[in-house]
Amino acid sequence: MDELIFFINRVLISGTVLGSIYALGAIGITLIFGILRFAHFAHGDMMTMGAFIAFVLAGVLASAGIVTPLPTGVVVLPVAMVLAAIIALGIDKSFYAPLRQRGARPVTLLIASIGVTLMIQGVIRLIFGSGTRSFFADETKDIFRIDMSWAGAQRPISVTEPQVIMFVVTALLVVALHLFLTRSRLGKAMRAMADNADLAQVSGINTALVVRVTWVIAGSLACVAGTMLALDVALMPDLAFNIVLPIFAAAIVGGLGHAYGAIVGGFLIAFAETLAVFNWTAVLRPLNAVLPEGMALPPNLSLVPTEYKLTVAFIILVITLLARPTGIFKGAST
């Protein structure tokens, strides 16, 4: 029974946490690709930037002596999302929009976004230094331990408060996004533009407005994802830059331009990663009793060493591109 609890803690909970972060990031990447037809490499850094915005706001709240029942990083999230969306709009207007107006090709925009990556990371390091910070320096991170002794387990299922909040927030945001894309006039216009930009223009759809809405959604979701990641682990200038590649993999595996695909892809990659680095010996240890003498299980039986976790996303990506290049949901193949 303890083995099962260990599995739940290490795979189910960790995978869901990671999946939520990947999904929220991948939605932004997939929407930007669908509307603007370029791979937004700086998206990871928009996540990091969002986390730092939330960090500053949380600091302001704490220094004002305001105590909240929820972690301050969560309380400030709505304001941080608004600020992150405004900055995302500013970045588009200053760097990407001028290139689009000159008819730049997607590759040019991709390279511009690498420039934006360096710039955001530079600005963050300039202001905050390169050290690691925590949202929980003056606050305790509550851990919920669900006692499982009734099932004969000594170990509890443990999940932190930020993790629980993250599950709820991600679910709410995904439902909100779904309603927006399927019910609202602007959401439908966004899908129309991703489907066929020329026809959207011919229909009289205000494409500039759709582009702005895309940045608002992508920027604010990136802020949530980044803050959640920082709440779960720690805050550093290259926080999300390190995971931008699995996030891209999630968007591509799900089908580029397809918001639901990004969600599925995000959870798929996250669970594949957590399962691959999971030490199966911990679950299979009872087998030692039935194995013949001298044939004990090795102490570490994971498919991939933790430091090579990134390869899992790439293997899935390669398989997807070979077997189903348009992704799980039929996305854009260009």
């Binding site: 006039r185 899908r191 129309a192 489907d195 066929n196 009289g204 205000n206 494409t207």
Partner: protein, 234 residues
């Protein structure tokens, strides 16, 4: 006053102009048909009206107002609508969502217009929850026309509406176009099936090398031996 009037329009995609002085004028009651050989600038003329390429000379007026080089998001609310020849439906969206996109510029209740479109194309009501990409070529053309009608246009522009359709659908589409015109929508269309289209056109324009060669009623053009010999295949 003409509904749409092009005066000596010169335009292209940068580089050498494709249109070298096109003159077109039609009333709201007209069905105007543009015919001519490949590369004559027929589709380009429609795109020039709709702001999809640069007009470098001449003027375009719509209901007395100059609209030269205006973009679609300004033209659609004024009462112009355009059905491109290819990729003219949102394939991943349902038929009904396609129609809603045609009404994007409208802020009023458009359910009446949708009813009108469904009355015009009853098959679309049946398939309204189906993705447009799953429909046949003829049905897609209906979705495309329906989308364009959702803005309640005064002028509907169609780029080769019969292209790639089976003869049965060609007749059906042409009949629908006449019916739409009968409900007070001016039509300006480009057609490869020149003889068939000129037969119901009240105004015909024969273009060649980006210029008008012949202008007249559809019947006049069909009856003109020179037009028939050079442009209608004898």
């Amino acid at each position: 006053m003409a509904l749409i009037e092009l005066k000596h329009v010169v335009g292209g995609y940068g580089g050498a102009p494709i249109l070298n002085g096109v003159d077109i004028a039609i009333e709201q009651s007209d069905i105007g048909v543009i015919v001519g050989p490949n590369g004559a600038g027929k589709s380009t003329t429609l795109k020039a009206i709709f702001g999809l390429l640069k007009v470098m000379g001449g003027t375009i007026t719509f209901a007395g107002e100059e609209i030269t080089n205006s973009l679609p998001d300004r033209l659609v609310p004024k009462g112009l609508s355009f059905v491109p020849q290819e990729k003219n439906v949102f394939t991943s969206m349902t038929v009904e969502e396609n129609l809603e996109m045609g009404a994007f510029t409208r802020t009023d209740d458009f359910s009446d217009t949708m009813g009108w479109v469904y009355q015009m194309f009853p098959i679309l009501r049946e398939k309204r929850r189906q993705p447009a990409g799953e429909l046949s070529g003829g049905q897609r053309q209906m979705v495309a026309m329906g989308r364009a009608l959702m803005s309640k246009p005064r002028l509907l522009m169609l780029d080769e509406p019969s292209a790639g359709l089976s003869p049965r659908y060609v007749i059906e589409i042409f009949e629908t176009i006449v019916k739409i015109n009968g409900e007070g929508v001016g039509i300006l269309m480009v057609e490869q099936n020149a003889r068939q289209a000129l037969a119901f056109a009240s105004r015909g324009f024969v273009l060649a090398n980006g210029q008008n060669r012949f202008t007249g009623t559809g019947q006049e053009l069909i009856a003109d031996p020179e037009v028939a010999r050079s442009f209608l295949g004898g």
